[in-house]
Assembly symmetry: C2
Homo-oligomer: 392 residues x 2
């Protein structure tokens, strides 16, 4: 990918069990890039989100600094000053205008940013950059993530090749809307910030906004896309825009699924598909209710085809449902047909399907023609362990 | 308590680990009682709920049969026939009209009711009744409950004493609205079914509708109140009604707290109080969001005063909040004052407060004058264990 350079280093911001791990990352475009971003919908937001919402209005960005040790949230005016100072320090080191630097952060809420560590780390962060260290960057944004989340795709528009590279981090507090986590998408395609934003919104709506780990919405999350136009490929008409949108959605969906798969304590990735809803809202409501249900999630962890919990979750979702019309399948096994349980044998086969690490459950409400989906993970003892111990 | 008799027996409906435990209960009033009931708001409802909603319209009830082994939910027309047959069998044995018998059930969803077991058990259930076996009844309605939930209070109206006795069962799928669990309240007070229903609604709104264990809403839940008027005490005017309402709310609140305390895997009972909300809805939304947050619940389990998760939950609740105005206290420890963290010492003291088995957290939004509250429990590995293994 042309014109993007990355870095990921240990700045000593992470503490406790994570001390000594990479915790400071940089994305740098050799020239200013079209940029668009989406932010958490939580009313309590971190300082970098406040600053980022302001800066992204210009539609241009050249560098992003991410720290994964401290959320810089609930840190008041000092937090905002620290976010701005972080951007200024990086801008000076990179010799670019500070308005072109975005900042993102994730980690513990409420503690002040250890600015001296950032100051000390800035030379190492901003020198010896290269375009092969995307994985270092992806590692530097991890918190409780067990695996690095990177997707790189190449595509052609009118014969000209371009690259879309995405990195994301989870893995708790994963719930839409647009409050999923941190994700950064770089492309060397030439596209306006307006079209980039439109494509990003659609891509996120069908990916990051359709996943759930624990139903909590973080204060810090952002998805940032940068397009520096250095590949030679350009979006010139609506067909090109649609093509880019498709490839961008592929990248965000793969990242989103990685986030769910690596959900805190997760052992399985589940897709719930709602078909036959009376309205688009009903389809989404039912999918959300199933994917957020702790009872559904623990049953999946236990490999128990406890379909009653799924139909009950749809029942309380607010969607228009009739139990006597529901069809429910686990993988290729029909468990319920028009509200009637299909018996012990079907349930045994469903239990077999559940042993796989990926599972698709389809609930047809048979009330209309609308569909939607959600990806979610199961819920194990480890989720509790991770989150009961996170700060200690 | 005059004129009420109870029974709780082993009918062989429970399976697996619970096989051999009491699973069939009876409440019988020697004369028809004023009655009122509230039911689950889930759109998927069990057969006894469908039948109960119809029967309770008459405002009179003389007997209730409860089974705790099989939910009789998602059982179609057969389920409804089985519920009616259960009522008919009990009515015949008790020699009362079948319309005066209510049925409630809880347990596994989707399996047909083993009617032969009910038929075989009916003689034992309906003979040798006495008014000292309220605890047997309370035990017979338990599923994963670890403790029996019984509250009995005596009170006087115009010098005449009456009793209010309540029994409830939890302990998963505990979430309002009125979808909390099974609860049965008997009183020998003389009160009309209209006033009884009004009092029950208010009492439940401030008790069962303010608790959360896991955010799921069951398909089966009902709260039933019966008043047979045999004590000599009577509700004759609005002052009397208010007095009864108060005592009824004491009973339902104590039962509700017992349900939370015995929530699946719970180790702590927490009351979240929201003060200073801009509207009543905001106060409730914020209280709900905090009490349903898995991140808050796991932090409390870990005795970690992770206040950022509480303020973040309020932030995503939809309530109008400003992080810079929030005050947050754990017990008597002020952790956040006008959005500012009160330091390491305060946090250490808060951690001490959290070691107790009961905890009150107060979040003042300082946006207005509205308050609300919620009781909830923490979230431990055991919740996952219980719910991953429930049917196996």
């Amino acid at each position: 990918m042309k014109g993007f350079k990355f870095k990921g280093i240990v700045a000593g911001i992470k503490k406790g069990a994570n001390a000594g791990k990479k915790d400071l990352g940089l994305i740098f475009s050799t020239r200013p890039a079209s940029a668009a971003a989406l932010f958490t919908e939580n009313r309590v937001v971190a300082a970098p989100v406040i600053m980022g919402r302001e800066r992204i209005k210009a539609g241009v960005c050249q560098a992003v600094v991410v720290n994964s040790g401290n959320a810089n949230c609930f840190t008041g005016d000092q937090g905002l000053r620290d976010a701005r100072e972080t951007a200024r320090l990086a801008a000076n080191a990179l010799r670019i205008p500070e308005e072109l630097v975005m900042v993102a952060s994730t980690g513990v809420i409420g503690a002040p940013i250890p600015m001296q560590r950032l100051i000390d780390a800035m030379p190492a962060l901003t020198t010896e950059l290269d375009n092969s260290s995307f994985e270092d960057f992806a590692q530097s944004i991890m918190t409780t993530d067990l695996s690095m989340k990177v997707v790189v795709k190449k595509h052609k528009i009118k014969g000209e090749e371009f690259t879309v590279a995405g990195a994301a981090k989870g893995s708790g507090m994963i719930k839409p809307n647009m409050a999923t986590m941190l994700a950064f998408i770089c492309t060397d395609l030439d596209i306006s910030s307006t079209l980039l934003k439109a494509a990003l919104k659609i891509a996120c709506e069908r990916s990051f906004n359709r996943i759930s780990v624990d139903g909590d919405t973080s204060t810090n999350d952002m998805v940032l896309a940068m397009a520096n136009g250095m590949s030679g490929a350009a979006v010139e008409d609506s067909d090109d825009a649609l093509e880019f949108e498709t490839i961008l959605n592929e990248v965000t969906l793969e990242l989103a699924k990685m986030v769910v798969k690596d959900g805190e304590g997760a052992t399985k990735l589940v897709k719930i598909v709602i078909n036959g809803a009376a309205s688009a809202q009903d389809a989404l409501k039912a999918a959300e209710a199933v994917s957020h249900s702790n009872l559904v999630k623990t049953a999946i962890y236990g490999e128990d085809p406890n379909w009653g919990r799924i139909t009950a979750a749809a029942g309380r979702s607010g969607a228009d449902v009739d139990p006597d019309l529901m069809d429910l399948t686990f993988g290729d096994v029909v468990l319920v047909k028009k509200g009637v349980w299909q018996g012990v044998e079907a349930e045994k086969r469903a239990a077999q399907v559940m042993k796989k690490s990926e599972l698709e459950i389809v609930l047809d409400l048979n009330m209309g023609s609308f569909s939607d989906f959600y990806y979610f993970c199961d819920f194990s003892e480890n989720y509790v362990k991770i989150n009961a111990d996170y700060r200690s």
